[in-house]
Symmetry: C2
Subunit: 405 residues, 2 copies
C-alpha cells in the first residue's frame, strides 16, 4: 500500500535537518534543528489537507476525517527529537511511517470509518529536558501542564521559554479532547532481538518499567599531595564505588539492565580531591517490584560507599514508570496485518520507554518494532536496513487500516 | 623585624582581589582577578622603589640592590594565582612574606650585601593551564618559552593570548640573567603535620616527586534500555574500575598518595551508555622509582579494566617531576633563623609541588612551611592562624637577612 520511494525520499529530507557529519542526527528538543523539522512536518501535514493543531506543550497533531464524523479517532505517530549525536531512525521512522500511511490513504482513496490523527510528541528523548516521554506524559495527565512548562534544561531555560521562542507554544489544551479508539507507534527496536532472529517486524507485547535516579555525593576538597590518604573524603572514590555496584546489580536478575550515563565532578582540578560528584542511574525490569528493589539496592550501594569513604549523599528519584502491557485489540490487528503481508515477525517485550507507554493510560495502545543493526541506537551508527523499514511501514499502514474501520 | 599589622593589612587587601563569598579565593591565572592582583603587586613594588621587570611568560620581578653590586642575588617569592574556589593563603602568603621582608629591610635600613629580588611566578597552580609550576619551570628551562606560550586552557585560549590581553606579556627574556645565590619560598604546609605536632614553622627538607596522567577510555554509546548487559562496552564502567584501582594503589606503599581529580563523560545522557570517559591521575612519592612504578600500575589498571569491559584506552603522561632535596646551605640558614627566634619547628618533607622545586635546577633553593588548619587547602576553608603566619614571616625575613649577607 505504501510508496517505498516517497517514503525514503521523505526520510532523507527529514534526516538532513540536524544531520551530523557522521550521518547521525543531533536534534535536541526545541533547538534550531528541532524547530526546522517541526516546520517541515507542519508543512507536510498542511499539504495533505490535514487539520493541524498544536497544544500547550508543543505536541503537533494533524487530523484526517473518516466517514463517520462521530467515531473515536485512531492516533498514530512518534517523536522527531533526537539524542545528542543520536541516530536518524529513533522516533523519526515512526512519525514518517505514519505520514506515509496518511499519504497512501489519501492517494489511494482508502476508506476508513474513524478519523486518523498523526502526532509528533514533544521531548520524547529526555536529553535536553528531563524526564523523557514529556509530551505524551503531559497529554495523558501523568505530568501537569504547569509542571512540564517549568522543567529546565542544564542552562536553566524552561520548557515554556523554549516553546515560546520556538513559536511552538500552541493554544490547544493538552490532553484528549474526545475518547481515542487506539494508538499505534512504529519504532526501531534499539536492541538485538529481531536481528538475532533474522526477522523484520515485532508486534510488541509490552515495555520494561524503569526508574531514573539522581545522586549527589558530598566529600571534602583538599590537596592531592599533602593530604594523607586515610583522612580523605573523596566524593569521586565513593561515586565510582557506587557506579561499580550499580553495574553489578544486573548480575542478580535475569531481566534487569542498569546504567550510569551522567557523572560530573566538582571542582574538577587534577590536583584537588573531588568535593562533589553528581550522577544518574537508570534501572529497568519488566517486573515493577524488581524496579522498586533495584532502587533500594542503589540506595544501599550509596549508603555503603559513603560509609566507607566518610562522605554524605542525597538520592532523588526523578522518574518512575511502570511496565506496560499493550492492548490485545491492537496486538491482534497488528498480528493480522503482519500475517497478511507474509513478513517474518515475532512478539517481544521492549526495553526502552516510548510515548505508547503513556498512551495506554487513555486508550488501547500498541507498537511495532523494526530491527536495529547490531542492536545499536542512541548513537550516530544507529541503522535499520531499508527493506526492514519498508516492511515495518507496510505492516503499520495495514494495521492502521484495520484499526480505523 | 617585620611589622605584623602592616603584613596583615596587606594580606587583607590582596585577599579582597578575587575573594569568594565564603572567604576563599578564586583567582585563576590571568583571569580578571589575577590581572588586578598583579597590578596591585607591581604598584607595591614600585612604591618600594624596586626595579620592576616582567618576563616573556609574565613572571614579575622586583629588585632591591645590596651593597655589593656584583654579588649574586637572593631570590624570594611564590605565586599569586589560586585554585578554583581555593584559599587565601596558598601562594599569596609567600609572596606577601617576601614583600613584608623587603618593606622591613627598607624601613629599618637593614644592610645586605647581595641584591634581593622578589618574584611572583605565573600559573603555579596548573588549574587554568597545565602543568603547574609553569612560570618557574620555564624560568629554569624545564619548559621552553614557545612550549609554555602555546599551552591552552579548556576553552582553547593560549597562554600567549592570555598574557597579551592581560598586558603581562613582558619583554624581558625568561630565565636567569646572572648566577643566583639562593631562592627562598614560604608556603602553607597544605597538610596536617605541623598542626599535629603543634609547631609553627617547618624547614623543608624536600618535596615529593609526582606524575600527572591523562587517560581516555573509548567504549560504545548505546541505549540504556534494550542493550543487553553482556554486549555493552561502557566507558564509565571501565573508568570507575580504574579510579577504584588508583585509590587502592596507595595501600601498597607507606609514602604514596594517589588521586583522580577530573573525570568527564561523553555523551553524558541519562539513558545512554557512555562512549568516552576522560580522567586524570595524580600519583606522588618521595621515591622517584616508586613514582615510575605507580605510573606502570595505573597503566596496568587501565589495561585490566579495558580488557574486562571490551573498551580501548589511551594514556598520556602530561607532567613528571622528580623528588626535590633542598640545599643544605638554605636549610642551615633557615634553621639558624628559626632557632634564633625561639619558635617551635621541625624538618619535614612536603607533598605538594612548589616553584622552589624547579629553582633547585639553577640555584640553592629552600622552603619554609607554616601550618594549615586541619591540613586543608585547595578549598575555601583553607586557613592558617595569624600568629603562625607572623612566626613564619619573621623566620623568613631572618633567613633572607642571613642569605643576603
Ligand atoms: N525510545 C527511547 O529512547 N525512549 C527514551 C526513554 C528511554 O530511555 O527508554
Ligand atoms: N602547592 C601547590 O598546590 N602546587 C601545585 C602543584 C601540586 O599539585 O603539587
Amino acid at each position: 500500500m505504501i510508496d517505498p520511494d516517497r517514503f525514503r525520499n521523505t526520510f532523507e529530507t527529514y534526516s538532513d535537518i540536524g544531520r551530523t557529519d557522521n550521518d547521525g542526527l543531533h536534534r535536541l528538543t526545541l533547538t534550531d534543528a528541532d524547530i526546522r523539522v517541526r516546520d517541515q512536518f507542519v508543512d507536510d501535514l498542511e499539504s495533505l489537507g490535514l487539520d493541524v493543531r498544536i497544544d500547550e506543550v508543543g505536541n503537533i497533531f494533524g487530523r484526517r476525517e473518516g466517514t463517520d464524523p462521530n467515531a473515536a479517532p485512531v492516533l498514530v505517530g512518534s517523536h522527531l527529537d533526537s539524542q545528542p549525536y543520536g541516530g536518524r531512525f529513533d522516533g523519526q521512522l515512526g512519525v514518517l511511517s505514519a505520514l506515509e500511511t496518511l499519504r497512501a490513504f489519501d492517494e489511494q482513496d482508502i476508506d476508513h470509518r474513524r478519523p486518523i490523527e498523526i502526532v509528533n510528541w514533544t521531548n520524547e528523548e529526555g536529553s535536553r529536558f528531563k524526564p523523557a516521554l514529556m509530551g505524551s506524559g503531559t497529554f495523558v495527565g501523568e505530568f501537569s501542564v504547569d509542571e512540564t512548562l517549568a522543567r529546565t534544561d542544564s542552562d536553566g531555560t524552561t520548557v515554556e521559554e523554549a516553546l515560546e521562542s520556538a513559536g511552538y507554544r500552541g493554544d490547544v489544551e493538552c490532553g484528549p479532547r474526545e475518547s481515542i479508539h487506539s494508538y499505534l507507534e512504529l519504532h526501531v527496536e534499539q536492541g538485538p532481538v529481531l536481528e538475532n532472529h533474522d526477522q523484520s517486524v515485532a508486534v510488541v507485547d509490552g515495555i520494561y518499567g524503569m526508574s531514573w535516579l539522581e545522586a549527589t555525593i558530598e566529600g571534602t576538597a583538599d590537596h592531592a599531595g599533602p593530604s594523607p590518604m586515610h583522612s580523605r573524603r573523596d566524593a569521586l572514590v565513593a561515586a565510582t564505588d557506587v557506579v561499580q555496584g550499580v553495574r553489578r546489580l544486573s548480575n542478580r536478575y535475569d531481566d534487569v539492565v542498569t546504567t550510569v550515563g551522567e557523572l560530573t565532578v566538582e571542582p574538577g582540578s587534577i590536583n584537588v580531591i573531588p568535593s562533589e560528584v553528581t550522577f544518574t542511574a537508570d534501572v529497568r525490569s519488566y517486573d515493577d517490584d524488581i524496579v522498586a528493589e533495584l532502587v533500594g539496592h542503589v540506595e544501599s550501594e550509596l549508603e555503603a560507599a559513603c560509609k566507607r569513604e566518610g562522605t554524605e549523599y542525597e538520592l532523588e528519584e526523578i522518574w518512575r514508570i511502570k511496565h506496560t502491557e499493550f492492548a490485545e485489540s491492537v496486538r491482534t490487528a497488528a498480528r493480522e496485518a503482519v500475517e497478511e503481508t507474509g513478513v517474518s515477525y515475532r512478539s517481544m517485550v521492549g526495553g526502552a520507554g516510548h510515548d505508547a507507554n503513556y498512551l495506554t493510560d487513555v486508550t488501547d495502545a500498541g507498537m511495532l518494532f523494526v530491527p536495529s543493526v547490531d542492536g545499536r541506537t542512541h548513537n550516530e551508527d544507529e541503522f535499520t536496513e531499508w527493506e526492514d523499514a519498508v516492511a515495518g511501514a507496510t505492516v503499520f499502514a495495514e494495521t492502521v487500516r484495520r484499526l480505523s474501520q
